[in-house]
């Protein structure tokens, strides 16, 4: 029981870490689009979010679609898991 609750805690914490990382990435992209004078559109399912600086002289727009969001979450998860696996193997106790 204790092991199961431990595994669930690790899983939930990993999901939380990935969610925070994705939110930070979204904030970074919004900041960059603001600096670069662009409008940033992010597609989330059927809905969409539009942010950034609205400028009539340079109305360029960057759109990120659902596939990019899914790929981003997968890439972040895979990178985290790969690093954790490497870290876990490297810290194997000596026999």
């Amino acid at each position: 029981m204790r092991r199961v609750s431990g595994l669930v805690s690790v899983l939930l914490l990993s999901l939380l870490a990935i969610a925070i990382a994705e939110a930070c990435l979204a904030a970074l992209l919004l900041l960059f689009s603001f600096i670069l004078n662009l409008r940033l559109g992010i597609e989330l399912g059927a809905a969409g979010v539009l942010g950034g600086r609205s400028n009539a002289h340079q109305p360029d727009e960057v759109m990120l679609f659902n596939a990019a969001i899914v790929a981003s979450v997968l890439f972040t998860t895979v990178c985290g898991l790969a690093a954790a696996t490497l870290g876990f193997r490297r810290s194997r106790p000596a026999r």
């Binding site: 600096i35 727009e61 990178c79 876990f88």
Partner: protein
Amino acid sequence: MKALLKLYPRSWRQRYGREMEVLLEQIPGEIGVGLDLVLGAAAAYAMVVRSNRFLRASGAFLHGVCVAVLLQAIAFVTFILFAQRSATSTSVDLGTLRFAAFLRPNFFRLQEQLLVQLSHLDWLPSATILIALAAALALVLVAPRLLRTVR
């Protein structure tokens, strides 16, 4: 100043807490001492993390996630940098899947913009952000090694 000792891990406080309290009673409470205590708490936690295999793997997981976020930010800015130099709208597609698109709504105004961009070095902000992100990535990648050498 003694309250800062609560920042230390429990195992550390059980072993050295009493001695440290006595020591803190003898020295004046200055900002430098407080800073030393905070840094010492960080070092003590780093020792705890290093000695535990699962905590170490968790740290590595967070490190990998940071690297992934920086790589994606670099990809985004690189895409904008290339798309801004292009005369038409640019998109990143894989088969029927569309990942990202850089949309230019007015082609005639675009010609003017492109000339203005070329003359005013409009690529400079993107390039600066890209360089800053690359520097941040390099720092994040070497940080574990640096921490090991500090130890």
